[in-house]
């Protein structure tokens, strides 16, 4: 960590420059916080108050009605069961998808970084390229494949899709991490007669905690926030929260209940926000690890 300049020099330039720095940062912070503020305020007001305008004002008649309505009785088309349906669907999609994609990613990364398998690097190269290709290129044939095997529009289908498209990032993440571990460790385990799986479970996996945390953060936010896969593969019964939120917002008839919309939006944002605030620097590490480390 390097300081900008020697400590002694600062007081001289304190006034104008420092004030400017803080003014800029505070303005930027306000701009970035404004939508969140407006969402929360709107969700706590009754509709009468919203119609008067002034979206940034604190509610005069504080009410949590919109939140409970958004959770349990907001309508998406004909069904009026609230966004809670989507919440539980998202949970059901999230847990197996995250677990499976991390396990597969860790095994791939281990095999790629410690073992010499013919063609593995070519496979890895293709996988990495795949990470940059727009999903639209794969979607239609994938839908056909899943329909042919009869699992299209099911929980299994959407989980598989998340695992498939999580492969590049997860594999890259663990491969890079394992490449940073000392090779002597692996050699010693080999000399002791460890095989592929025993080395993985006894030596490598116990050392992977930091990457497991990073990968979990990355996948939880990524999969929770997914829209396009849920829309395409999950089927009516399993629509995730993001898709349901979109349906609620766009399917209202008559006057839109903005307070309910905003409460539903906040509910949909809650899980990733909690993950973000709890994980702190790990979150940044997660984004950076997938990208910066090459």
């Amino acid at each position: 960590m390097n300081t900008i300049e020697p400590q002694g020099c600062r007081p001289r330039r304190l006034t104008v420059g420092r004030v400017g720095v803080y003014a800029f940062l505070l303005t930027a912070a306000l701009f970035i916080l404004l939508p969140l503020w407006i969402m929360i305020m709107t969700s706590l007001k009754p509709m009468d108050e919203i119609r008067l305008g002034n979206i940034v004002a604190l509610p005069t008649a504080l009410t949590f009605e919109a939140w409970s309505k958004a959770w349990s009785s907001a309508c998406t088309g004909l069904e009026c069961n609230g966004i809670s349906v989507g919440f539980w669907n998202s949970v059901r999609i999230l847990i197996p998808s995250v677990a499976l994609s991390i396990i597969v990613g860790a095994i791939n990364g281990y095999a790629l970084s410690f073992w010499r398998v013919k063609g593995a690097n070519v496979m890895f190269g293709v996988l990495l390229l795949g990470a940059f290709i727009p999903y639209q290129v794969f979607l239609y044939p994938l839908v056909r494949i899943f329909s042919m095997t009869g699992i299209y529009n099911s929980l299994l289908c959407i989980i598989l899709v998340h695992v498939i498209f999580g492969l590049p990032t997860m594999t890259l993440l663990f491969r890079n991490y394992y490449l940073g571990l000392p090779i002597e460790l692996f050699k010693a385990a080999r000399i002791d007669g460890g095989g592929f799986w025993s080395i993985f479970f006894r030596v490598i996996l116990p050392m992977s905690t930091p990457m497991l945390v990073v990968a979990t953060i990355l996948q939880v936010t990524g999969i929770w926030n997914d829209f396009i896969f849920g829309l395409t593969f999950a089927g009516r019964q399993n629509l995730p929260m993001t898709v349901q939120l979109n349906n609620i917002v766009h399917s209202t008839q008559g006057e839109r209940a903005y307070n309910v919309d905003m409460a539903a939006t906040m509910l949909a944002a809650l899980v990733p926000l909690v993950v973000y605030f709890v994980s702190g620097r790990w979150f940044v590490r997660g984004i950076a690890a997938g990208a910066v480390k090459g």
């Binding site: 398998v117 290709i133 639209q136 239609y140 926000l273």
Partner: protein
């Protein structure tokens, strides 16, 4: 690759036989098999399938006839597609440069030994944790002319203030840009800040000795040093540009009219709603070509060339 080949014999050299090597490596190969299958079937197979379908006349169901480039000429005569392509260019340029500029400024200002640094960082990055659907819905509400920002400013004593970009055909795409920058600027800041922290402290001392103003050092010395981070951020943002779909769906549904249509939405609509598979896959293929031609050199330089253990 080469380093691994040095390593392997040293492990098993004393009693290495071909058989032994095969037996010990078999589990590794088996472990990679599912991924290899996915790469073959999905990443290569589905991609080729999509390209193949774009040369057919498939409508509701896929056919395997051959109509040459007919779908592509239809595509480039299609207003919706042309608008989509134009929009993604506008969005891409403004979004990437906006995020880079704002992200750089935020990173530089945060790097000035400010109090509450981690609080500022947390605030700047939180939008990135939210989904595009949430972002879109929030900004749609904030920018709606009836009750949102426009009314707020009018009520504050500026009755002629107009900000109706969201419902204005010519300006709607810029509201998507604003929402996008709001979502992505923090990420750029985080990446560039990591780069700034890596800048040698002696550089600042030298600059002080020479009496060079701070802003000049940032522009002329620090910015070139940050090149790798800027490239990384740009690539991350660019992949986001190509995938732009949820934000548009949540915010404008492509409207007003077709003013905010984007290629990803064009493909989705034609594949799953308009029953025009051939045209949809043709558009997807164009997206693929665009992405590959931009990213292939970068990916090559970054990953393929530097494979194996670097220590």
């Amino acid at each position: 690759m080469d380093t691994i080949s040095i390593r392997a014999p040293s492990i098993s050299a004393p009693r290495a036989t071909v058989r032994h090597r095969i037996r010990t490596r078999l589990p590794a190969s088996l472990a990679l098999l599912p991924t290899a299958l996915v790469v073959l079937v999905v990443y290569i197979g589905c991609l080729l399938w999509t390209v193949r379908l774009s040369f057919t006349s498939s409508a509701l169901l896929p056919k395997l006839d051959w109509v040459g480039l007919a779908q592509y000429s239809r595509l480039f005569a299609n207003d919706r597609f042309l608008t989509s392509a134009e929009n993604i260019l506008i969005f891409g340029c403004l979004f990437i440069s906006g995020c880079l500029i704002l992200g750089f400024l935020l990173a530089v200002f945060i790097d000035q030994n400010v109090r509450g640094e981690s609080l500022f960082r947390t605030v700047f990055l939180y939008p990135y944790a939210m989904s595009f659907v949430v972002t879109g819905v929030a900004w749609q509400w904030f920018l709606n002319p009836g009750l949102g920002l426009q009314k707020l400013v009018r009520d504050m004593g500026f009755p002629n203030f107009t900000f109706d970009w969201l419902v204005n055909q010519d300006m709607a795409i810029y509201t998507i840009v604003i929402a996008g920058i709001w979502h992505g600027a923090g990420l750029t800041m985080a990446i560039l800040l990591a780069g700034l922290r890596g800048v040698d402290g002696d550089l600042w001392k030298a600059a002080r000795v020479d009496g060079i103003p701070t802003w000049r050092v940032y522009i002329s010395v620090v910015l070139p040093l940050l090149r790798p981070m800027i490239v990384t951020a740009t690539v991350l943002l660019a992949t986001g540009v190509v995938k732009l779909y949820d934000l548009v769906v949540a915010m404008t549904l492509g409207g007003p009219g077709i003013a905010t249509e984007v290629p990803a939405k064009f493909v989705m609509d034609h594949l799953f709603e308009r029953n025009n598979i051939a045209l949809g896959t043709a558009a997807a293929t164009i997206m693929l070509i665009a992405v590959v031609s931009v990213l292939a050199p970068w990916v090559y330089a970054r990953y393929i060339r530097s494979q194996g253990r670097l220590g």
